[in-house]
Amino acid sequence: MNAQIAAILAIDGIASGAIYVLIAIGFVLIFAVTRIIFVPFGDITAFTALTLASLENKQMPGTVGMVAVLAVMATLMEVFSLWRKGALGKIPAALFFYLALPLIPAAIAWATAGTLLPTPLRLLLTVAVILPIAPLLNRIVYQPIADATVLLLLIVSVALHFAMSGLGLLFFGPEGVRTQSLVDFTTFIAGTPVSGQAMLILGSAIFFSFLLYLFFNFTLYGKALHATAINRTGARLMGIRPQQACTIAFLLGSVLAAVSGILIAPVNTIFYDSGFLIGLKSFVGAIIGGMVSFPVTAIGSMFVGILEGFAAFLSSPFKDVIVFSILIPVLLWRSYTLVHAEEEDEE
C-alpha cells in the first residue's frame, strides 16, 4: 500500500463514515428519548433511496402504499383509544395528525407519478413521503408498550425490522436501484481524486450534526427532548409530554435516515434489504458513543467507516468480521471505565 492508495481508501472510508454518522446519531437520538433501539432505521434509509429512484423513473414509489397502510392503522388505533377514553373532542385533531398529514406528501407523489419533477422538488418530496413512516410505526408498535423494558423494546424492534424488510420486498420488488449523481465533478486534493459526492456526503453530515446541536441547545423543543432523555419522570413533572417528545425524536430520526438515504442512493445500488447492514455498522458507531454521547458517536462512526475501507483493502472477505469484532474491545473498555447508570427503577 502506498500513500496514494491510502489516501483514496481514507476518502472512501470518510464518505461511508459520514453516512454512518448520520444514522448513528439518529440511533442515539431515538434511544436517548424513547429507550428504543430502532433497528428498522437502516430499512428507512434504504426505502428513501428506493423512493427517490422510483420518482426518478417516473413511477409511483412503493412508499406511498406503505404510508397509506400505516396511516390508516395508526388512525384507527388512535381513534379507538380516544373513544375508549371518552375524549371524542380530540378525534378531529387525531384524524388530522395521523391521517391527513402523512397522506398529503403521499398524495402528491401519487398525483405526480408519471411526471419528472425538478431535482430539488424531487428530493423534498422524497423526504416528505419518508418522514411519517417512523412516527407512525411509533404510534402503532411502540406507544402501546412505551413503559416496557429496554430488552422488550429491542426484541420488538428486531421483529419490526423483519416485518419492514418483508414489506420492502412487497412494495419495492427484488431489484436494486441506483439514482443519478447529485453532483458530477471530481477535484484533486494533493493528487488524490475526491468525488463531489463524497464531499457532499461529508458536508451534509457536518451540517445536520450542527443543526441538531443548535436544536438541542437553543430551542424549547430541543431542551424538552434533552430533559426527557435525562429523566423521563422528571420531564413529565415539568409538563413535558413524553409521547410528543417521542414523536419529535422519531421525526428527527427520520430526517437523518432520509438524508442518508438520498446521499447513498447515487453511490451504490440499493436493494430493499440493503438498509440492515448499513444500520448495523452505524450501530457499532453508536455503541462506541455508549448510546448517549453525540460527539463520540460521530467520531466512532467515522472510525467504523475508515476501518471498513482499510479492512476491505487488506482482506475483503473478512471486512465485516473486522468491523464487527471491534465491538468486543469497545464493549470491554466501556464496561470497565464507565460507571453505567442502572435502568430506571419502577417508581
Binding site: P174, G176, T269, F271, S274, G309, A312, F313, S316
Partner: protein, 384 residues
C-alpha cells in the same frame, strides 16, 4: 329399447373417456411465481408456456400440463412435488426456479422414482443404487467459467483480477478460474470479495488496479455485479471485463451503463439465437422457441432461463416418443421407460445445448452449450 341404446352409448362414451385419459401423459411443472425467486421463476413459466404451445402432444398422445407455484419456498416445492406424484399421478416433473427448491424436488424424484427435469443447478448425491431419477438442463458453473477463461486465453489475456461475491457463487467462479489457470489459462492475480448489500468496493477495486492485471473477471451476479465495473473504470482501469451468464440481466446493463460496455460473458446460445450462424445446432430449435415464446407471451425472450424450461420439454418429448412404444402413460413402467430413454437418446439439440445424459451425473452438457457474447450499446452481441 331407446333407453338401452342410450345406456349402452353412455357407457361406451364413459369407457372411451377412460381410455382417453389413460392415453394422456401428465406433466407437473413447479416454479416460483411469488416471493424473491419469482423474478426468475416467471421467466421459467413463460418458457413453459412457449414449450406447451410449441408441442402439446407426442406421437398422437395428448400431454396434460399441471402448473404449481412454490412461492420461492423449498418446503412448498417439496409439498408440490409430493402432491403431483401422489395425487395427480404425473409421469414427469419439471422445476423449479431456486436451487434449494430444485434440490428438494430432486430428492423427492429419487425417492418416488419419477423422472424430473431440473431447470436449476442440482447438488444432491446420486442415489446409492446408481440410478438417479432426474437430469438438470443447466450448464455447470465450472463450465461457464471455463468457456470464458478459454476465450481470455484465445484473446491473449495473460492475467486477470477477480472481485466476486463473498458467498458460494463467488467461490464457484474463483475456483473455476483457478482451475483454468492450472490448465494454462490466465493467471488470477487477486481474490477480492464483496457482499450484495455493501456500500462500496473502492478498496477491492484499488487492490485489483494495484495488481495491474490485463483483464478483469467478475464473480458477482445480477444488478450488483455492475458495482466493481463502475468502480474500476472510475479508478482508470482500461482492461477488458469478463463474466459469467449471471450478468445477463437487464438491470445489470441499465446500472452498468457505459462502464459495462464491452463486457464479454459466456452465455447459453439461446440469448443470441437470431445472430447464430445457420449451421449452429441451436439455430432451428431456438428460432422455433423464440417464435412460440413471442406468440404466447407477447414479448421477446431475452433471458436465459425460459430456454431451460423449453429444453426440458424438448428432451422430454424425445424420450416420450421412445417410451410410448414400450409402456402406457400413468404406469411406473412408463416412468422407467422414460428415464431409460432420456439416457439412451444421444445428441438431443435444445436452445441451450446438445444434451447427452448418463446416470453418472445430473448434468449432460458440454462446451457447445456456451457461446461468448459481448455487451455493445446495451445489446448482447454474439462473438464467434
Amino acid at each position: 329399447m331407446r333407453k338401452l341404446v342410450f345406456g349402452v352409448s353412455a357407457f361406451a362414451g364413459l369407457l372411451l373417456a377412460c381410455t382417453a385419459h389413460a392415453q394422456e401423459i401428465t406433466v407437473g411443472f413447479v416454479t416460483s411465481l411469488s416471493g424473491p425467486a419469482s423474478s426468475i421463476g416467471i421467466n421459467y413459466e413463460k418458457g413453459m408456456n412457449a414449450a406447451y404451445a410449441y408441442k402439446d402432444e407426442v406421437s398422437g398422445v395428448k400431454i396434460k400440463l399441471i402448473k404449481l407455484d412454490d412461492g420461492s419456498d423449498p418446503s412448498q416445492a417439496t409439498k408440490n412435488a409430493r402432491k403431483l406424484v401422489e395425487q395427480d399421478k404425473v409421469d414427469v416433473m419439471i422445476g423449479t426456479s431456486s436451487a434449494p427448491g430444485t434440490n428438494a424436488m430432486m430428492t423427492i424424484a429419487n425417492e418416488l422414482k419419477v423422472p424430473f427435469f431440473a431447470v436449476s443447478p442440482v447438488n444432491v448425491p446420486i442415489p446409492a443404487d446408481g440410478h438417479p431419477w432426474g437430469v438438470s438442463m443447466v450448464q455447470t458453473p465450472q463450465l461457464m467459467v471455463k468457456v470464458i477463461a478459454d476465450r481470455m486465453q484465445r484473446d491473449g489475456v495473460k492475467s486477470v483480477g477477480f472481485i466476486g461475491f463473498s458467498d458460494s457463487w463467488g467461490d464457484l467462479v474463483y475456483n473455476g478460474a483457478k482451475a483454468a489457470e492450472a490448465n494454462g489459462g490466465p493467471k488470477v492475480l487477486t481474490n477480492e470479495r464483496y457482499a450484495r448489500t455493501d456500500t462500496s468496493v473502492t478498496a477491492q477495486a484499488l487492490k485489483v488496479v494495484a495488481a495491474k492485471p490485463e483483464g478483469f473477471l467478475n464473480g458477482g451476479s445480477a444488478t450488483q455485479a455492475a458495482l466493481p465495473l463502475l468502480e474500476l473504470r472510475k479508478l482508470g482501469f482500461k482492461g477488458p471485463f469478463f463474466g459469467t451468464p449471471s450478468l445477463l440481466n437487464r438491470d445489470f446493463v441499465r446500472i452498468g451503463g457505459k462502464a459495462a460496455d464491452g463486457t464479454q460473458v459466456s452465455a447459453g446460445p439461446v440469448v443470441v439465437t437470431s445472430q447464430l450462424p445457420n449451421d449452429h445446432f441451436a439455430k432451428k430449435i431456438g428460432t422455433a422457441f423464440h417464435e412460440s415464446f413471442k406468440k404466447v407471451n407477447g414479448g421477446e425472450a431475452d433471458d436465459g432461463f425460459s430456454g431451460y424450461a423449453f429444453d426440458g420439454w424438448v428432451v422430454f418429448l424425445e424420450a416420450a416418443k421412445v417410451a410410448l412404444t414400450k409402456a402406457k402413460p400413468g404406469t411406473q413402467e412408463f416412468r422407467q421407460a422414460l428415464m431409460d430413454a432420456i439416457y439412451a437418446n444421444k445428441n438431443v439439440a435444445g436452445t441451450h445445448a446438445i444434451y447427452n445424459f448418463t446416470p453418472k451425473s445430473y448434468f449432460g452438457v458440454d462446451e457447445r452449450s456456451l457461446v461468448v457474447v459481448k455487451l455493445a450499446d446495451g445489446k448482447w452481441v454474439y462473438q464467434p
